[in-house]
Amino acid sequence: MQVNLTVNGKVRQADLEDRTLLVDFLRDNLRLTGTHVGCDTSSCGSCTVHVDGVAVKSCTLLAAQADGCTVTTIEGLAQFNANGTIGQLHPLQEGFKECHGLQCGFCTPGMIMTAADLLSRQRNPSEHDIREALEGNICRCTGYHNIVKAIQWAADHTPAPLLADHHVWTNEPTTEPAAV
């Protein structure tokens, strides 16, 4: 079936098998492999992306259900230079770096996309708000302490316009993003 959607600011069209999940479309067709598949049962949250500005678990959404929608993945958060290198990280990515918010990194894309949804709605979330927002994201390495700190760091360091519309920095490069 024909699917048209905008991913990280770019219009994408594809002829997909009807049953294609959004996460498989992102990873296999678009090679946006930053979005991970952990549990495949909508429990772990590592596949979290934004559809029309709202965090969803892309393992439990058919690509066809996102037809006509705007999708943002972890690759859409940083600002990239013309040569594909990273220009400026998103404040959440900086926060995870500053606060050691990851160990193996598997859950990180989902954590950041969930946190970006939270910060777009709530300028100064409390620790409790952050922990509640992360309820559907599971980390098996660090525990959640530094992840919460990283999100608090981002809330403290995010310029206000970014919070009003966290899609302003969605200019994913044409080539594969360079490894962070």
Partner: protein, 247 residues
Amino acid sequence: MLADGGKALSGGHSLIPTMKLRLNAPDVLVDVGRLPELKGISVDGSELVIGAGVTHGAIAASDLVKKHLPMFATGASQIGDPSVRNRGTIGGSIAHADPSADWPAMIIAADATIVMQGPSGTRKVKAEQFFTGLFSTALHENELITQIRVPLHDGAKMTYQKFSQPASRYAIVGCAVVKSADGKLRVAFSGVSEAPFRDKKAEEQLSSGQPAEAAAGMSILSDHYASEEYRKHLANVYLNRALAAVA
């Protein structure tokens, strides 16, 4: 289409997981997730009308729901997690009829009516009669749930108390209690038996001033999360918590 092996797909948070498990293999999926007719929350006379396609998140955030049916707002905010609540819908949850889903206990206790649309017109069924067994409902193959209509219960106290499975947040035991302004109680459970149910025996015991035994005479589920004995114990614990909350 629905009658010929097709299925309606809304948020997909019940249907897609069952398809992954090959418990469901519909020939055709009809995406009703963006139909405006299934959206919206409004007050119509003495009822709150929730469109079947309204997400759990939208119900949790609705000022109308908070004002008239606070149990629905707090109950919705305990379903799954934020991302799940952004997609999953009340109509989808009810049609799927997982015995451990949260909505059934709440809509039974609140005496809601489920409105269904089929080729021969509109049909209404009380929530209490809607759930007929494990994943089984009064919904016919060629029908679609369009609305959930709930009496406003002004002056009533209501609560939904649950013991969650820690990963999925499904209710291992969920107990909804509505205490009307004149003190009448309606008690309903999710997670305890093959189908969610109204606990009339407990209601009768409570109305005659006796201590209530939850789920008396019901067949109790037993699985690797909770044995029959433990579930029955939890049902009593959560009934008592719910009663304390509406006292």
